[in-house]
């Protein structure tokens, strides 16, 4: 894995920073335990359809969303449970959505790939690879149109950069100088196709050169590095009104979706095991312990607390009601005004 880890061993961490850093670990643990539980629920048939887990990529969601304001806009691909949780959709509302229940954040009508909470500016998981990237350009266009200083950010995998929607969206964002941040979560595989088998160039960030757009590569397993890079991108968008392509190099520890084994024809067990040595949660908790921000016991206690929160979400989702039959026809169109 490329990129430099932030140097550990700093001795004096101010209390506010320490608090923030602990919160990041908690968010990462929440994603991990939530996704493990979702995987379990899927295997039990409690979650239907497709279910794409975020395990291994936790530092990306945590490090990037940490830079945002509550009024910024977020769109994501179908691998978006992590971003939804970090943005503040409750584990109960996300789990209930995966279970297809009325209490879910999309009323049980969206599912795993379509998590929404407009009050948090979380404007969807989207199911067509790359199809949501132009939406982010449109949101950034709206920000510029209204003259406000929000930013619009977009998460997508590295496989999306080969399709037209990506190019068209980035070209217009650069052409019109829009406050958009395109976060490419390069987890090395588009389903079962390795990056080098799909893209003529290896460094995704270089794609930005086609549009004279600022770009950066960052180690996605190091939450502090992700946050620092995102801070630069957010400042560029908010202050200079310019877009950024951020390539975050990470790794998916699970299969593409729940129906795909962790390793198989397209990658070896050894490769996955090698990558797991840089588990973003281990990297970050190790750093916090080394810096004296937390003890090992405190990390364990935090993890236990998160496990209980996820168990609560699971029970909530199980007990929640299905949407009423009349929900079938609601919200196809806007309600008539007169």
């Amino acid at each position: 894995m490329a990129g430099t880890a932030t140097k550990p061993g700093r001795k004096t961490i101010d209390p506010a920073t320490a608090e923030t850093w602990r919160a990041w670990l908690r968010q990462m643990l929440l994603i991990r335990r939530f996704e493990e539980k979702a995987g379990e629920a899927y295997s039990l048939g409690k979650i239907g359809g497709f279910c794409h887990l975020y395990i291994g990529q936790e530092a990306v969601a945590v490090g990037t969303i940490a830079s945002l304001r509550p009024d910024d806009y977020i769109t994501a691909s179908y691998r978006e449970h992590g971003q939804a949780l970090v943005r503040g959709i409750t584990p109960r509302a996300v789990m209930a959505e995966l279970f297809g229940k009325a209490e879910g954040c999309s009323g049980g009508k969206g599912g795993s790939m379509h998590l929404f909470d407009a009050s948090l500016g979380f404007l969807g998981g989207h199911g067509i690879v790359g199809g949501h990237i132009p939406l982010t350009t449109g949101m950034a266009f709206a920000i510029k149109y209204r003259g406000t200083d929000q930013v619009a950010i977009c998460y997508f995998g590295e496989a999306a950069v080969n399709n037209g929607a990506f190019h068209e969206a980035l070209n217009m964002a650069a052409l019109w100088k829009l406050p958009a941040i395109y976060i490419c979560e390069n987890n090395r595989y588009g389903m079962g196709t390795a990056l080098e088998r799909a893209s003529a160039i290896y460094d995704i960030s270089e794609r930005a050169c086609s549009y004279d757009m600022a770009n950066e590569v960052v180690d996605g397993q190091d939450v502090l590095a992700v946050k620092a890079a995102m801070d630069r991108a957010v400042e560029r968008a908010r202050e200079e009104k310019l877009p950024t392509l951020l390539e975050v190099r990470t790794y998916r520890f699970m299969g593409h979706s729940m129906s795909d084994p962790i390793h198989g024809h397209y990658r070896t067990k050894e490769e996955v095991e090698e990558q797991r040595k840089r588990d973003p949660i281990a990297v970050w908790s190790g750093r916090l312990i080394a810096d004296g921000v937390m003890t090992e016991d405190e990390v364990k206690a935090m993890d236990q607390q998160v496990v209980e929160e996820v168990e609560d979400a699971y029970r909530f989702a199980e007990e929640a009601a299905d949407p009423a039959p009349e929900e079938l026809f609601r919200d196809v169109y806007a309600p008539e005004e007169n």
Binding site: K109, A118, L123, G124, P134, L135, A142, E168, D331, A334
Partner: protein
């Protein structure tokens, strides 16, 4: 009442709606500096500036998506497609994003957007530039599909489409832009989903929309000379379909011919026929017939192109058949 071209009626609707609501903006290829490929946006850049009249690269998928994204956060985009043939590149955004956002988000996020431009064939533009796609869009729950045939309808329906909170596919006619008619000044809206009886009659109902309204009216005129009284219903909106107006008419005339520019298979007319046979089967004195474009890619040759299109002669033949007069 002033007489305007269909083009200028659309222009007036855009201008009035942009004056009325700052959230409305126009975006597309050549809409600004060039004044519109068909001059529908003439003068708008000068009046509203580049913030609200936005020229785009040739990137239909991209700017349709920009429209969806802007609409999701509260703007009201009017996205111009130079023609609906090119909108095929944007179908993913229209179908997967615009039409589904409200439903997938449980009503949290709507897409109040108009996608507009000419559809159907003009003259000798060949296979890739001569297609009527309204049945494609009308198939999709979440979309509305509007197709004005006259200048007055163009103005009234476009104003309503821009004010509608749903994604509206607004298909104009390249061959209609120069047609003239009386257009009410100022505030004039026509509700979406309401058909219009363009000519009253008693013997047969001809259902049509967009360019085929002129075809049907011409046929009706010639039929009148033979003592056949045809009622001509212009659907105006394809989805939601005004079935009531159609059914009331056919219940009176007992005979119906449905005309459209598009292809026969799974066309708009098929939906109209389905409704008629289901709702008022006993009122029918003859099977409902359809006059459509021929089931071929549009040929370039002038004579072949003419053969491929719905025309008054074909409509008259169908009417005579449902009346059993030959």
């Amino acid at each position: 009442m002033p007489t305007l071209t269909y083009r200028d009626a659309l222009n007036q609707a855009l201008r009035e709606e942009m004056q009325r609501d700052d959230r409305v903006f126009l975006m597309g290829e050549e809409v600004g500096v060039y004044q519109g490929a068909y001059k529908v946006s003439r003068g708008l850049l000068e009046e509203f500036g580049a913030r609200r009249v936005v020229d785009t690269p040739i990137t239909e998928l991209g700017f349709a998506g920009v429209g969806v994204g802007a609409a999701m956060v509260g703007l009201r985009p009017v996205i111009e497609m130079m023609t609906f043939n090119f909108a095929l590149l944007a179908v993913d955004q229209i179908v997967n994003s615009a039409a589904k956002m409200r439903y997938m988000s449980n009503g949290q996020v709507g897409v109040p957007m108009v996608v507009r431009g000419p559809g159907g064939a003009a003259l000798q533009l060949g296979a890739q530039h001569s297609q009527a796609f309204e049945s494609w869009y009308a198939h999709i729950p979440g979309l509305k599909v509007v197709m004005p045939a006259t200048p007055a309808d163009a103005k009234g329906l476009l104003k309503s489409a821009i004010r509608d909170d749903n994604p509206v596919i607004f298909i104009e006619g390249e061959m209609l832009y120069n047609t003239k008619g009386e257009v009410p000044e100022g505030e004039y809206t026509i509700p979406l989903g309401v058909a219009d009886i363009k000519r009253e009659g008693t013997d047969v109902t001809i259902v049509c929309h967009s360019k085929t309204v002129a075809v049907a009216l011409k046929a009706a005129e010639q039929l009148a000379a033979d003592g056949i009284s045809a009622e001509v219903i212009d659907l105006r909106t394809i989805r939601p379909l005004d079935t009531r107006t159609v059914l009331e008419s056919v219940a009176r005339t007992h005979r119906c011919v449905v005309v459209e520019e598009g292809w026969h298979f799974a066309g708009v007319g098929a939906q109209v026929v389905d409704t008629i046979q289901r709702e008022i089967f006993d009122a029918l004195d003859a099977p409902v017939l359809r006059v459509t474009g021929a089931e071929v890619p549009m040929p370039y040759n002038k004579q072949l192109e003419k053969l491929a299109k719905a025309d008054p002669a074909k409509v008259i033949a169908a009417v005579r058949q449902v009346l059993y007069v030959d």
